[in-house]
Amino acid sequence: MSTTQWESVLAVPVDEARDHIQGPPDAPVTLVEYGDYQCPYCGAAYPIVKEVQARLADGLRFVFRNFPITTAHPRAEQAAEAAEAAAAQGRFWEMHDLLYENQKRLRDEDLHGYAEQLGLDVERFDHDLAEHAHAPRVREDFMSGVRSGVNGTPTFYINGARHDDSYDFETLLAALQRAAAA
């Protein structure tokens, strides 16, 4: 046995003003994902999250936070900063989706291309990336994940408690439905 035990719960609560959120604030269930844009497991989870969102509709609030493990995924940090640079122009989710749909194309020129594709102010976007303007935000997410017990990606929290089960569609949906009914 360990000499110290604690539950893994979300250390930094969801903040409507700060977080990237899809779904209504009063939804009965909040799903938080800590994810890495270059991580293949997160790529596999991406369509599953879309599917549970479609199924639960307004019954679900989904929050995405950055957890780039650059030691393993050298493009993950820049991709996370690209999503935040898009967020600065009000287009976080479009960029988030493009990154997960193009996980193997995360070079600087790819990111630039996605910004163009979304009709962003590309000059501002490139500048933000070059200056690492959003690196502090990404690190803040990362550390909030560490303090919440994130140990790899993706890690999910359902109404603040770490989801330690599989994230295949049926299991994740059932866990969300249980939380909604609780």
Partner: protein, 165 residues
């Protein structure tokens, strides 16, 4: 997640214990001893094997957190029963910049001393120790072998060292 209801994890040395000193190879021609780090906190990470998926994720996370550990002036040391050449190749492949010590000969001796050797597997537990500047164990934790313990426990332990200082 694997079923953890039936596990037979070792009990690590409890807080307050003097951390047993050791000397192990960190490169083919260098060794490190625990005593060399007296005066600063040490995080000892026992992990089962180089190259296994969970170990790789766990150590990548710690690599990512080196700047946080450095804020506490803490030294991170990985230890497994793998030989030094395996460690070197593994560290290079996974971009790990902290020492990986080879508890290779006699095999697992340091893991045994720290009560985290798994004789049946011939590897160590996935165990964490935070040792203070005076060489006293302040926190120890054995994780189920298949589960990455993350880093929040280490950070909490380092913070409590500072609070107590």
């Amino acid at each position: 997640m694997p079923d953890t209801s039936v596990d037979h994890r070792a009990a690590p040395l409890p807080p307050g214990t003097e951390a047993p000193d050791f000397r192990l190879p960190s490169t083919p021609d260098q060794t490190l001893s625990l005593m060399e780090f007296r005066g600063q906190p040490v995080i000892l990470v026992f992990y089962p094997e180089d190259w296994s998926p969970v170990c790789s994720d766990q150590l990548a996370l710690y690599q990512e957190l080196l700047p946080e550990f450095q804020k506490f002036n803490a030294e991170l040391l990985g230890i497994s029963v793998d030989g030094i050449w395996s460690h070197l190749a593994f560290a290079k492949d996974r971009n790990l910049e902290f020492p990986l010590l080879a508890d290779f000969e006699p095999k697992g001796e340091v893991a045994r001393t720290y009560q985290v050797y798994r004789a049946a597997d011939g590897t160590s537990e996935r165990a964490l120790y935070v040792i203070d500047a005076d060489g006293i164990v302040r926190w120890s934790y054995v994780s189920p072998v298949g589960i990455n313990p993350g880093a929040d426990g280490i950070l909490r332990a380092l913070e409590s060292l500072e609070d107590g200082a």
